[in-house]
């Protein structure tokens, strides 16, 4: 009995933990599929988190918060697109720059406006008629707030867009062989601007999911590096939305279990050093990938700026 409760709560916790990763990783997937690596995800998440938090802090309107995060995220995505597509800047570095910028500015604005961490009323749990009250399943799947569901809904949508729409086809083409796409009359720059901006928006939502849905507070460096894990998860998922989600869930599940281990070990009487517990998700992710060992070719043009007549 106690064990099922644990399982249920672990699963629920995993789903919550995975939410920001799914938002951010999906966004990054679009950018990378079109050939742009954005290492600045964490910075965008932070500014998105603050924007959402501040909007709600001032107005109490949650949708306004989401909107703010989305807009801020897309603006930063647009900036990243300008830097990496138009100015053809080395994507690795400009990403790090964007990260520092977001890390600093989000905290700066916070200190200038709200000053000390102050809780807000974030997205409440969505209560579904019967579902929420289902014994175990209810707790696992139907005890969450709106943004959690949005994140998971975005997975099939993203997959559909990438694989079944003309835009998706253009994204894949631009990421694999920009010259060819260009010769077929597709504007490589336009596609990349769109994906990176979209990715920024998703990253913004990832931030919002932390500050106004899961934690309902803001603090300096609220994400504590989750954006970088999100980028890693894109590689784990080999640029496929469903696999990316799988990676996020795996990572988060182990993380959730890891927290449980610490508390049930008293019962079991064993002693796991907390350092190793905390290590677990990272180790498991790598090991899983060893055994999955799918050698998927990354988008050929990833991190390569496109210019006509380059050969």
């Amino acid at each position: 009995m106690i064990t099922d409760i644990l399982k249920a709560s672990v699963a629920a916790s995993a789903i919550r933990l995975a939410t920001p990763y799914i938002f951010a990783s999906l966004g990054e997937t679009f950018g990378q599929r079109s050939g742009v690596l954005n290492l600045g995800v964490d910075g965008i998440m932070l500014l998105g988190a603050f924007a959402a938090y501040y909007a709600v802090f001032e107005t109490g309107n949650l949708l306004l918060g989401v909107l703010a995060a989305l807009i801020v995220g897309m603006l930063l995505g647009l900036a990243m697109a300008f830097i990496s597509v138009t100015l053809q800047a080395e994507q690795g570095i400009s990403g790090i720059g964007l990260y520092l910028f977001g890390l600093g500015l989000s905290e700066l604005l916070f200190q200038k406006t709200v000053v000390t961490p102050t809780p807000i009323d974030g997205f409440p749990r969505v209560n579904l008629p019967i579902l929420t009250d289902l014994p175990v399943l209810g707790e696992i799947f139907f005890h969450h707030n709106l943004l959690v569901y949005v994140a998971f809904a975005l997975v099939p949508i993203s997959a559909f867009v990438l694989n079944r729409t003309t835009f998706g086809l253009q994204i894949r083409a631009v990421g694999q062989n920009p010259e060819a796409a260009d010769a077929m009359g597709i504007s490589v720059a336009r596609v990349r601007y769109m994906t990176v901006t979209l990715g920024g928006g998703f990253a913004g939502l990832a931030g919002a999911s932390l500050s106004i849905a899961l934690l309902n507070i803001f603090q300096s460096n609220l994400t504590s590096g989750q954006g970088f894990i999100a980028v890693a998860l894109v590689y784990f998922g080999a640029w496929r939305p469903y696999w990316v989600m799988g990676g996020a869930l795996l990572f988060s599940t182990v993380n959730a279990l890891q927290l449980q281990v610490k508390t049930i070990e008293n019962a079991l009487g064993i002693n796991v050093p907390s350092e190793f517990a905390v290590m677990a998700p990272y180790v498991v992710t790598i090991i899983t990938l060893i055994f999955a060992s799918k050698r998927v070719e990354q988008p050929t043009a990833l991190t390569k700026p496109f210019e006509r007549g380059e050969s």
Binding site: T166, R172, A173, N177, G185, R308
Partner: protein, 516 residues
């Protein structure tokens, strides 16, 4: 249908004129005040050596490059072609010399790329596939709309390119070296299609380094040299020799006579070799083959029938599933490429740009790709000896007449012809006992081709065993002592030089067993 419409329902381009076109690249006047025109129902051929400016001129017409000077007129209306998109809207299509396909996407996806979908935002691949099938019916171009490009042989990819252009119903179609990779039959098919298209009222521009093709298909011929238009002539009044001379500026030998040589021992031996192809099917089926010292064995075949796999297997770049391989009587079955090199193998790879050289390395660095760790290029295998590398490379540049500013130029800024010469120089300088030459003159102009052929014949007289893999039958016929034909991964026939003729070879390549 109304007079000014094509069967595809698109508007005809009665006439296209380019006037006083100038295109500069840093340090190069690629196109120098060139006038060029083509009419509906006409095929206008464009000739010239590598780097003469043909592709550039066409890329301008297709909106990929923008000219510094000059005007383009469509049906006597001046137009500015800003982008490929724009060109497509004007009914101009282009088949690029270096394929413009996305390897990871399927044929259908590649065709659909950049087109409006009948379902708005959502892809309509079924519709596209259907139309593709129709077109391949009409023009007899077999391709499976659902197979990804990377699985297709070069020839098949070429067909996709053509299909795509037809699909878009281009009224004016530019073909930049479309036949470089096709077999005689394929070429005949292509020409049938092209004639059909001109009959329908298309205007066609045709670029090739193969003079007999040009003479066979085109109505008018224009020759470019170093960016200038040096000559324009109706096809019927032209001859191979004179065209060759026009391009190169000196008489060119187009036929070789092989001095009879007593073939020595078999230096390369394959016995029942099998291997899987990239497609995962049987790439090589139980191939047995001998190449003797002082002998050139030509491997003919439609591209994608195992030639690639054959070369890679011998070079140690592809593992074999069955059979044995000997170099100089040493069993080298499933040895590494390095080991193969050690055993005196040289290999001119098919994919020159991706396998043969490292684009961003200098000419000199590329010159020592395999031997960089050996005397005289390295001390004790540890430190590079640039002095001797430079010396050797400079000699090679001189001996092989490689056009390059210096030995320190990044090789990517050489023309394919010159890149190929460097590869040749490198491979021959390693004094091979066995040489694999895969598509040695693809896309290389006749001047360079002639040169390369002479070098191969020299090697032959030196007593090297040469395996010449080519889809250019003329080349095969011109150089080989013996010819084997590959079909679906197996050797379906072997012919002696004098017994060989284009027709029978063509039939074998098409799969029909012929015994000579």
């Amino acid at each position: 249908m109304p007079e000014n419409l094509l069967p595809t329902g698109h508007r005809r381009i009665e006439q296209m004129r380019m006037q006083g076109i100038v295109k500069k690249f840093p340090g190069v006047l690629a196109v120098d005040h060139v006038d060029f025109d083509v009419k509906a129902g006409e095929i206008h051929a464009l000739l010239g050596e590598n780097g003469a400016g043909k592709s550039t001129l066409m890329k301008i017409l297709y909106g990929l490059y923008h000219p510094e000077e000059g005007h383009i007129y469509l049906n006597d209306q001046s137009v500015v072609i800003r982008s490929p998109n724009h060109a497509i809207q004007h009914g101009i299509g282009m088949i690029h010399q270096h394929f413009m396909l996305v390897p990871s996407l399927t044929v259908a996806e590649n065709v659909a790329l950049g087109l409006k979908s009948s379902r708005g935002l959502i892809l309509d691949l079924e519709v596209v596939s259907k139309r593709i099938r129709e077109l391949s019916e009409i023009y007899g171009l077999q391709v499976n709309p659902n197979s990804p490009i990377w699985q297709l042989a070069v020839g098949e990819q070429q067909r996709v390119e053509i299909l795509r252009a037809l699909y878009r119903g281009a009224a004016l179609l530019i073909l930049d070296e479309p036949t470089a990779v096709l077999t005689p039959q394929e070429v005949d098919d292509l020409f049938r299609i092209l004639n059909q298209m001109t009959a329908d009222g298309h205007a066609l521009i045709f670029i090739s380094h193969k003079l007999h093709e040009v003479l066979a298909i085109s109505h008018r011929i224009t020759v470019l040299r170093d960016g200038k238009r040096v000559y324009s002539i109706p096809a019927e009044s032209a001859t191979k020799e004179m065209l060759a001379q026009m391009m190169v500026g000196r008489p060119v030998v187009l036929r070789y006579d092989l001095p009879p040589i007593e073939p020595g021992p078999a230096l390369l031996r394959l016995e029942g070799v099998c291997a899987t192809s990239d497609r995962g099917d049987e790439g090589l089926k139980n191939v047995s083959l001998n190449v003797h010292a002082g002998e050139i064995v030509g491997v003919a075949g439609v591209s994608g029938n195992g030639q690639r796999e054959l070369a890679q297997v011998i070079a140690g770049m592809r593992s074999i599933t069955a059979g044995k391989i000997w170099l100089n009587n040493d069993d080298v079955t499933s040895h590494s490429p390095a080991a193969m090199n050690q055993h005196g193998l040289s290999h001119i790879p098919e994919a020159r740009m991706t396998d043969g050289v490292i684009k961003n390395f200098t000419v000199a660095e590329n010159f020592v790709l395999q031997n960089h760790g050996r005397k005289p290029y390295a001390w004790g295998g540890l430190f590079m000896n640039f002095r001797s590398i430079t010396r050797q490379c400079k000699t090679a540049i001189k001996d092989y007449e490689i056009k390059t500013p210096s030995h320190e130029t990044p090789i990517k800024s050489l023309s394919g012809g010159n890149i190929q010469k460097l590869v040749l120089a490198r491979e021959l300088s390693r004094q091979p006992r066995v040489l694999i030459a895969a598509q040695p003159t693809r896309g290389v102009d006749i001047g360079a081709s002639e040169y390369i052929h002479h070098r191969l014949l020299e090697e032959r007289t030196k007593g090297t065993a040469i395996l010449l893999i080519s889809e250019d039958l003329d080349e095969i016929l011109a150089l080989s002592d013996r010819i084997v034909v590959m079909y679906e991964g197996a050797i379906v026939g072997a012919v002696k030089r004098d017994a060989a003729d284009v027709r029978t070879l063509g039939l074998m390549m098409a799969g029909s067993k012929v015994t000579v």
